[in-house]
Symmetry: C2
Subunit: 144 residues, 2 copies
């Protein structure tokens, strides 16, 4: 935990941003909920527990900043809300998601799976892939 925060701090500094108390509190919430897919409002409410003076705008700004730095990824599952998902440290690509149509749960797939597909797309469509988003919609193992 502390080491990860430290690395994020360094990453911020390398672009001359600071790790303010508000930003640190926000990052801690994200680390503590690594498996969830929190909306900005979710993050706001969780951060407020530890840091009640924080404003919603600051949370939005911090999440935007972390997205720029590729510490988090901003995703959208089709409800009108953006969600923020920590990247695995050192992961080349963004992980995939399984969205259950029954219970609404969102599970993650950390494996790459797309290596072959990406090679094919790069050559056949002459497209240089920088990132991807892959989401499956269906029935999760719990609901079956």
């Amino acid at each position: 935990m502390e080491q990860r925060i430290d690395r994020i701090k360094k990453q911020l500094h390398s672009q001359s941003y600071k790790l303010t108390p508000q930003r640190e509190a926000t990052v801690r919430v994200l680390l503590e909920h690594e498996d969830d897919h929190l909306s900005a409002e979710d993050v706001y409410m969780l951060v407020k527990e530890k840091y009640p003076e924080i404003g919603l705008a600051t949370v939005y700004r911090t999440l935007e900043l972390l997205t720029e730095l590729k510490v988090v990824d901003k995703i959208n599952f089709g409800d009108g809300v953006s969600r923020y998902d920590l990247r695995q440290e050192g992961a080349a690509h963004f992980h995939h998601h399984l969205v259950c149509l029954e219970c609404g749960s969102v599970d993650e797939i950390q494996e790459d799976l797309l290596d072959d597909v990406e090679k094919e797309v790069e050559t056949r469509w002459n497209f240089e892939i920088k990132d991807h988003r892959l989401t499956f919609h269906g029935i999760c193992h719990r609901c079956k």
Copy 2:
């Protein structure tokens, strides 16, 4: 064109919806811009050219209805706007997208590509896949 409208008409009737003039005008716009990825506002402005009395709410309602019937798919590329994309007739699954980070263009991949990946997900994660969304972000062949 006329045949496709006719089939959509039948599809509506089968669920006891009608193909009103407003709905037909909207469908025509979608058919005429099959390769684009129009937002509701885009569709609205295009439909207005032929049917100026139409209201924005009707366009939203029609797009929602067509989404339900799986005539179109609602997609979201991360700007705050939903886009509506005609499904290929008879396509089992939704097609994929190539979003260019340089010029913002969106190209389509009609091939399935995910067969193997889906088999793996179904067995390893015990997840029954109903649909998917796959988008690649990168540099398109024109910008390279």
